[in-house]
Symmetry: C2
């Protein structure tokens, strides 16, 4: 690993740190889901297949997310000039690495969802229960 990454970590939180622009691509639910799905299935996937898997994503967001990931070199896009057209998306080596990180978040969230939802419920209950009105 790059040692400078660890030495200068305080810089990560500076507004002008270039890594912020990278983090902000990854810190996005759809990017996280797309990377996750591509990593889980571990094979090239077509546009509509991804769309079906990522329940609830709109075509616009899927296109947009795939473009952003392709732009950053995390996903490769291959067009087969057939008819009907066929386009396959696949993780690059870099994308596989990123996918492992985002998949870890997804896994962890699934594993702790119940626990967290319970905490959330407790918090909301306190919040929703104002101090007994003075009488």
């Amino acid at each position: 690993m790059d040692t400078t990454a660890r030495a200068d970590w305080k810089l990560t939180y500076r507004r002008d740190c270039p890594s912020r622009t990278v983090i902000e691509v990854l810190a996005n639910k759809w990017a996280l889901y797309v990377l996750g799905a591509l990593r889980r299935y571990d094979r090239p996937m077509r546009f509509n297949e991804l769309r079906r898997v990522l329940d609830g994503i709109t075509q616009k967001m899927l296109t947009q997310t795939l473009r952003a990931l392709e732009r950053d070199g995390l996903v490769s896009r291959t067009v087969y000039p057939t008819v009907p057209p066929r386009v396959e998306y696949e993780l690059t080596a870099l994308g596989v690495e990123a996918g492992q990180l985002t998949a870890a978040i997804a896994d962890w969230s699934v594993a702790h969802a119940q626990e967290i939802l319970t905490a959330r419920g407790r918090f909301d209950e306190r919040d929703a229960a104002p101090p007994a009105p003075v009488r």
Copy 2:
């Protein structure tokens, strides 16, 4: 780890999977930064200290993010009834776990920022360079 998390991973991508609400709290740049900072400094931190560290965050977003993390049981909030008021934020055990995942993303982004920014430049160049006009 929870075995069901791995067995049912396809469910992660379903719209109604409860884990989605958890993922979506984590898949947020400010949450990622806050967890990262608390984990890096590894000690309770005060509101304005966090604000200074997280260059560019507004008071509103910091409050909002801390609330969300507190609600989900990832951060604890301790008020010392002194004057002036003093409030300390600290990661819970759960928050430390989540912080490791988000810090991994931050580290990775820093380590690969240059590489990714280069890819981004290449992509934008192609994009901005339409095919040479026929002559």
